[in-house]
Symmetry: D3
Subunit: 246 residues, 6 copies
């Protein structure tokens, strides 16, 4: 996997998932927002990191008793102990939140290990405790039942589905209070660059519309006069956008 | 369209959506509450206004590229710039929240133009920013993807479906922290009058039940003795209900 | 029905619904968490009580007019006035939240009567008022429409379905910010005892993982050395667990 | 329960569920067609009979082992052996077809006992065998798993929900290739009478439209000239409608 | 609207909906197959025609009583009487099949008037009668209840949504036993031409695979040697493909 | 993987999926029937074979263009060309039938290669052609759109989810007109043996109930007298059950 540009992850810290979907749409990507995946706590949802995947399949009564947890090679445990710092642990739970994908103890461990966040299209148990952590966590809805009732951790590091979106290991995941976007790895540098600039423009637009300007000529199509005003404003605040140039 | 009684909208400011469904049920209306449509921020959800409608149909790849937004006659842009002050922009998004119905820039513009609120049975993007505005906005759930992925704005000012309810232009929409009720225009005066009185009664009931009275004889059926007490209480607080009489 | 051990309900006050699902799973119970049933207000969701049941079937236009409420023998009214203190009123609403199961006046009355909480797999109306009460209430989502539109209260005190789980009168219901677990009556003493001890262990684990320990050897499988540390910690804090022994 | 007019059930043999919903709609009933309940075999779906009810709640692992079937007082067995001839066994399966409501052996027994049909809003197992019987059976979809996995038969003879419709014991159930309508008992005579006459009219309309007549003046509003033609036709074929008069 | 090439509709008579989705996918169209819309009778599902649209919104009790049908200007009646021969009447029923979109009398009238077919994303009543007609009809599932319970016909000739796909008046609709594809009008000639040729290739492939050939080198990628064989076969059967050339 | 007993697959040819769920339930397995997976043609649904798995994840626009099919290493093509005779190709399509999992050309190739059947929890395109083949195929519903729109074939031979059930390579799949059961490999011999005997008993029961016997004492609990009759009947027809003994 080619390394990312050093500005890519920092740039994405400024960018919303909404802006990212537009930038990706321009490049032909229509399915990048994980559907029905929400922050456990919107106030701590800001997340940027590389995908590290864990796959669940349905549990089976003879394989998924409580003794399953005694196995140190159990993929869920291994995932929690080996997900690299700065990565996001993404779980394919088949959109099934009737039993938990994980609970607060494992999430605490992930946070302690420097992981960037945790995402499932199922549900977390102990969600009130997880909500209280300074750690981005995304799921469908709270789910108290132990994961053995429904989920069997089967493997790590494969491409998976999450929230109806394909997630390949190494893809760049960005989360905010609205949810999570998955950026294909090979275009992450370009997407981050364009989204960063687009964000600057949208901040200016928001100021102008808030001040009473019409949409016409301002957004999304900007007329020449306003473009000049925008460029002047951007230059005047150049210190706010230290990453606007490579 | 016949004008509304001058007290109708002010009366509805006091009334909950729950009370309105009861008053409408008495007149035979069973389907007036927009299903699966929620306030973006329950704290700023109080809304009263007249329906101004926008209809979306599914997007089509050759019609809904990013250049669609360059068209000043694009119905979404026109709707945002022409929805009259005091009206509510209601969008028929076919209950599909997999892409956004609108975002914060357009909602900011609506607020600036004095519009009374915005409603979709799809989802908003930039929902954290929208939640922070002092402006009533209702949707199904946050949805970051750009609306071009799924929604094509097709026309303005027609009767539409929203949340499984028919909304005719000029109907009266009332929103609160529970959701939105649509009152057919031609009965809005009568409904507002009756709901206002019913609200006064329910405030008294809530006081009595809170003080330990039984439901029996108090609510929903009131016995003659309590009716007397209620009428006395209502008279004693007549200044709290300035709109109780035409 | 045999009486419960005097420690059972107090022990359950400490225990989360997540922990209870694990303890019940050990005994072969996989379906004890009410699905799609959430606290109206997570901050006041802690609930322990015995099940008192009310069953709804679909409304019928000739039986469920507004005069239905004039009947003092109406099962909904009777349930609210007769549910014993310390019990939880649980409503089988067939998972249908398109009309309300109940509203704030009835919930206020339940609270005043000393009832322990209220649960439906439908929705409450007046949910903002209910959220403001110091009283545990659980539902699927807010629903303003009067219950007569969809629900006919038919009987009290029978075994019912709620959230896909069977609830027998006298079962022990425990609620927290994640939702509600139903513990079969005949095993409630044993479950409470085991869950109380498991909770102590998990508090210790959470401390250890928070301090940087690995999952391996700590949780869920504990190695002999750590077990010794745990036992020492537990003994040192024995006053925090007054109900650890019968 | 008052006895039905002797012509009521015979009249209903001629009438479609579609026509019945219209006649019931005229009397204010909007919710009489069991939703998502289909004939196992459309060719043998014609059914008329009185409702005999069986209620399931979710199974519980300690109550619903295979030994549950050893109990001769098990409500499912009792229902099958006591449902009166000419009645329809209707099961409230909470719309859950992930496990069977019943299988072919029980359905064979019902048929042998002279029962008029069997209805569930769950699924039947052995559905190919059931489809081959000359016996009306209605369900949501085939479902092989044994009912103990999901359903606990709890009581007989109570009002229930089935397919989102309330069914009271003694109501009149009519089935055809489209599904099942439930007619409230107290209006069954009147509904049967009106629906019988309406059916005669629709047969004539179908002939006229098939012959090339326009809808205008024929259906649903008939003009005076055509009414005369219709009355003449009806009189000329009076022997086809032996039950047209009381 | 520009006229279609004279071969376009005849060519589409040969082509399956599956092949059409592939040809449209090549041109960037991903959403052209009406989801959850099925033939009432797969044996009579073959359909080609131009879209003529009818839009329903939710019914309202004061507007949608039985007297609604007395109005000769009622859009449903007007649609049935004015849909041109060779066109397909497509109804936007919001995917709601809890009440009928239409019944057999109206469908009979459409057939008599030379209409090419009828499509709804709701349900038909009298579906057994409709299934017996030599006429293509597509819906979600049978639905006996009269449409007044849920659907209000509001307008004709506007772009609509059907089965999650946008349908513009004049688009070309093709149906077969799998369902319905909507071809945007402006590319219909080119799509028909390409799909016709693709169909010839697939017939040959099916013969080859049926004779034991491997997929490799045959389909979807064809190797030079097999291409030669294919071209020879096509030339030898040229009379079977009279429309292969403009 | 240990080899199966030589009678196991032949015994399963006699056994229904319904009987198998009961036998598996006795051993503690509750989730073995693939939900929402139906035969394309119930008349050719009888299937017994070993699982060979193919996994799809969501498509991505840059990876899943039409040129994807030009790759001879494409997992879908490899699966079709390498699935061993006597095995069943099972596809994890995430329950998504909005685009096809496969079409008739690939299914024809599977049949020609001696494969035992094909199963997806998505949908097949060209389903009318597939229905006409003497080959067991199971899916959710017909789906014309090309699979590139939604599905990316990612790997072969891993444990997967299908219809909410875990399927491990080498598990035994049995299909009939109701659907598909997955038998864990390590208990397949024992399950086949017991299910074969249970089937014999149920054939006798069906005869007895058809002849007018009561359920009581016959089924599911058999009384001693009837047991004697059953054993005599079984002995008298021993030639019909050649595999009743090892």
């Amino acid at each position: 996997m080619t390394p990312l540009h050093t500005h890519t992850l920092p740039r994405l810290e400024l960018v919303s998932t909404a802006t990212l979907t537009t930038v990706l749409f321009k490049r032909g990507f229509r399915n990048v927002f994980l559907q029905e995946v929400r922050p456990v706590n919107p106030a701590t949802a800001r997340m940027v990191g590389l995908a590290f995947t864990l796959r669940y399949i349905p549990a089976r009564e003879d394989l998924d008793g409580l003794d399953a947890f005694d196995d140190p090679a159990h993929p869920q445990r291994v995932a929690v102990e080996t997900c690299p710092a700065g990565h996001v642990l993404v779980m394919d739970s088949r959109g099934d939140a009737t039993a938990a994908s994980s609970g607060n103890i494992l999430v605490t461990r992930l946070m302690r290990r420097g992981v960037a966040g945790v995402v499932t299209d199922g549900g977390f148990r102990d969600s009130p405790e997880i909500a209280a952590m300074p750690f981005p966590a995304f799921h469908q809805r709270p789910s108290a039942p132990t994961n053995l009732i429904r989920h069997h951790a089967i493997d790590i590091g494969l491409p998976i589905a999450c929230g109806g979106v394909s997630v390949y290991p190494g893809d760049v995941l960005v989360g905010d209070a609205e949810g999570v976007v998955c950026i294909p790895r090979r275009i992450a540098d370009a997407v981050a660059r364009e989204a960063y600039v687009q964000t600057i423009y949208e901040i200016w637009v928001e100021e102008r519309i808030g001040a009473g300007d019409s949409l016409i000529g301002t957004y999304p199509l900007i007329d020449p006069e306003r473009r000049q005003a925008y460029e002047a404003w951007k230059a005047a605040h150049a210190d706010r956008w230290p990453l606007a140039h490579d």
